[in-house]
Amino acid sequence: MNLTLHHFRKEFCYLRLRWFAFLALLGFDLAVNLEWLLPMRAGVEAPAWLGYLPVMILLVGLSLLLSCSEDRPGSDRSFISTRPLPWAAYWQARMLLWVTLIVLPVVLQNGLYLLLSGRPMADVLRGMGERACFAVGFSAWLLPALALWRRREVWKALFVIVVTLAAASKVLDVASAAWWKFYPSFDQTWAGLMVGWMVFGGLSGWLAWRHLQRAYRFRRRLCLTCFSALVGLLAARFWVLATDRELVAQDEALVRALAPGLKVEIDLETVHFEGFESEFGAHTLSAKPETETGKPGVHVDMRLAGSRVVQDGKTSSAKASSASIIRSRYGYGSPQDQVHRGDVNLRDFFPGGTLFYSAQPFPLWSWEGRSIALAAFDQPYPSAEQPLKLATDYHMDWYQRDLALELPMVAGSRAESDEARWEVLSVTHAAGPQPGALTITLRVETRDHWNEENGSAMLLHSPQRQIVWLDPVKQTMLGTRATHTGWQRRQIELTWNGIFNYADGEATGADAAKLRLILLRSRFLGTSPYTWKSPEMQLADFPSVYGERYAWHESRLLYGGRQMKAFQERMATFKPLTADSSEKEARRALYELFSTAGVTGAVYVPAAFPAITQAFDPLGKEHLPLLLELPSSLWPGWTNRPPRTLLDRYLTDDQREAVIDRVIRQPGLADVVVRKGWAEEAKRLKPRLLSGSPLPRGCEALLFAWGDEESRARLLQAAKHDINRGIIEELDKLPPMRPATERIAMNGFEKTLPMTGSESYLSGMSVSLAANFGSPEAFDLCLRWMALGGDLPPRNGGYPQPHLLTADGGKFWEKERKMPDHEKWPFFRRLKVSDFEYVPEKRAWKFRLP
């Protein structure tokens, strides 16, 4: 030990000046982090060189380990090599230097920062632990490097290692992208990084020891070091997969208390099946479950663990892919992703009638319940035509969300929670990209430990206007301090558009002091098990999304304005179909007709329908079975009127049974069956259509035709999950059904989150339906939504359009289309519910005044 201290003293003597410089840098960094020096001020950006301070500290710290070349072990020139200093004493002295001169000061500095920032002792200790890992990981590898490399060798070795790592990293990235189950590249964490460095340091240490024993040549040392670096890289990447993705449960006791009372409802009406036809995907059977935890602010997310399929008395199990077994800290299903689930997070915290506005055309937020997998089938697949039963195990992930912070939009206002501290430094009106914008400078202090589990979102609420802005239109980072210390400080400039003025300049009347800035937080509580058992069912009964067509946007642009002519010109170039044409030729003609109608965009132009019908005519006349085989979902437009017309024209009673047989698989034929007057004969399909599986789209025509109690009840059930399908309006025309349809409309409104953005079409549909059914709240919401029409971002789903009647009973929306925008938006803004009277028999709101 004496020799250890003796050598330590010698090294310290050599390093002291550099060490004092290191301490001075750490002190400066501490003062900057605590804002004793260069404090963050409103409107003042941090000097750019401040960003290099951590790098400088790191380099000076590492240089302390590269000292004393005369002591370099393994060198035949080093003075120490032929002196009687035991290696143990030498390495102990080096370790002592490393710990006392580098690791300890860095850890203590971090602890001091956290203490002076007022963090609780648990956070201080955690921050110090993380900083110790950081310091050890980033510097340990240099200790053996001294023994491994001589002076000039260092640079060669460094170059080769960096190149090797860069190449290996790229290969891993490509492999990750090419093989979707293998993604060690993208979820890199600090803990993983530290593990990688430590593995590299450990292997280098072993290599240095072997080198001192056996005197390896340079090439061998280089190869072995590169290998060590690669192992370190893999460790860093795979650490995330092995352990680090798993979230830490924050309140398992609460989960245990709530789990027995959890209600899960999976309505088969919401089930759909990917089908086995697709070459991609997991062939999943999915549904939208409804869950009720029994505690406000708590929701669950269902994660497939595995399922057992019983068919023909045989049981087979389908294991979930690894991606769904692990609850990720990143990406889909992470707490940050969970916080953006509007359907479970937003409704509880804001009064009814609040409109949620997103400035983004494709907001992060969603409001519709998420689909979950009921089973993911592997080969050998079960038969889709045979009945089967499923028993599916889930991990139920429990999340709690709360409004962690809320503060008025006034300069100087502050709020604090256990993991964040906010202060509004300045509030500026009309300083954004549009008139009426609000810009604030916000000072944010947040808990910033490694592997942080909680998700958060920043909201702006105007109780006065009953609007919540889900995201600012602009967010600029003005300064950051104390990154990766455990308590980060930032200064952010945030801008929201349209707060004080609408896009056209008209004042909104909003008062800045009444605006509230809110931090919404989502915490992962823990996981509980759950098993769902299905009734007996057939996979073939569920609609498959496979084979759906996409719009041919580019071609439609090409043929814009002359779709019908282009269609006719192109069709004229094909060989006409005759009675003598073979089935092969008929199929080819069908394909050409489809592709031409789709490519030219004629399918979207009602005026072109007669021309398309005419082109179809030979097919209907000579090859009717081919048309009967044609699934309606394959038709590349939004109506299958042309082929339907031909079916109406050429189908005879001889084909009745064949057509009825096809209805379940091709529900588009249901309409034909009704029009042909074969509804009575089609009653043999009734048991299937009344069963629990989803009502095939189009078959509602048959149920309406039958019109009995059972059929209506089935239609109500279908309408509950599919309010945009038009069933509810049809049912509402039957007076006895009105109370039930009204109930469905109001329930839909209650569950809807009125949110603008790309999903606003469905959201707005629910709101306008409730308004049509007489809800003044829904109608008021529609009016306020319409008033924002000019402020909605491009490619938005638009605003809801409830049934409105002019004072003289005319259709309002027909007149509205003729109104220019500069008149329309101010007109909407002045409308109030009291300006209308509800006309129940027309399910519409009528203007009281002209």
Binding site: K10, C68, S81, R83
Partner: protein, 300 residues
Amino acid sequence: MITITDLHKRFRKTEAVAGLSLEVPEGQVTAFLGPNGAGKSTTIKCLLNLHRPDRGAIEVLGGDSRKLGPAQFTQIGYVSENMELPLWMTVKQFFDYCRPLYPNWDSAFEKQLLTQFDLPLGTKLKDLSRGMRMKAALLSSLAYRPKLVVLDEPFSGLDPLVRDEFIRGLLELTEQEGWTVFVSSHDIEEVQRLADRVAIINRGKLALDETSDSLQARFRAIEVVLPDEVKAPVNLPSDWLHAEQAGRTLRFTESRFANEEALAAALRGAIPTATHHEVRAMSLREIFVALARAYRLEGK
């Protein structure tokens, strides 16, 4: 004290030492000579366990050189021309650092050496001249009275005055202490005053290992006068090195000189027409140069 048996050491394509065998007797100063690149430093590094031999064995202080450790290094003093010293230290700090490493460090002897070498204690090593720095290194390797002193080209780069001082100091100490010294050099002039024995290495192999006295007794410079227009025969005895004729005078080095009579008889046999000859004793330097030239010619 040192026994080297069939030592081999290769660096990539270069065979630095190729089957060297050598014995360094205790209590003597052995000069280890050879031209640059002959393998002197490699041999020394192998015997001090700084390089690992590819083949062969080295025994140092009665033990395997590969097992040399702190215990053995307390008895070995090593100074090399290219040794990296802690140049940032003052002379005093340097000795203060070295002192606790050696249990048998003799402080009185250290003081004596300090006086003898005239080293300034307060000066940093980096500010010392090369000669003074070598003296400091030597002092740090002698103050604990090592049994074996190994010096690898200690004089290279020193000016003649400093070299002389250095050698004188070393000579005095060696005589006083009776150390075993193994000193390498590419120039015999540097060590001829020190050496009891001379070992010459050439192309990694031992070319000669002899005491200085025997070497000086064995070598003579010969000048033979020939009649006019008589050429010396082509096939002269192989012991006669570097035979060169200039006019009537033939000069060569006799490497197996026994006595005048034997030489005269040999001359008569080889050059019957020789009219006159002169014999002169050679310095170690001249012998070394003659041998070095001979080795070079052998190599070609």
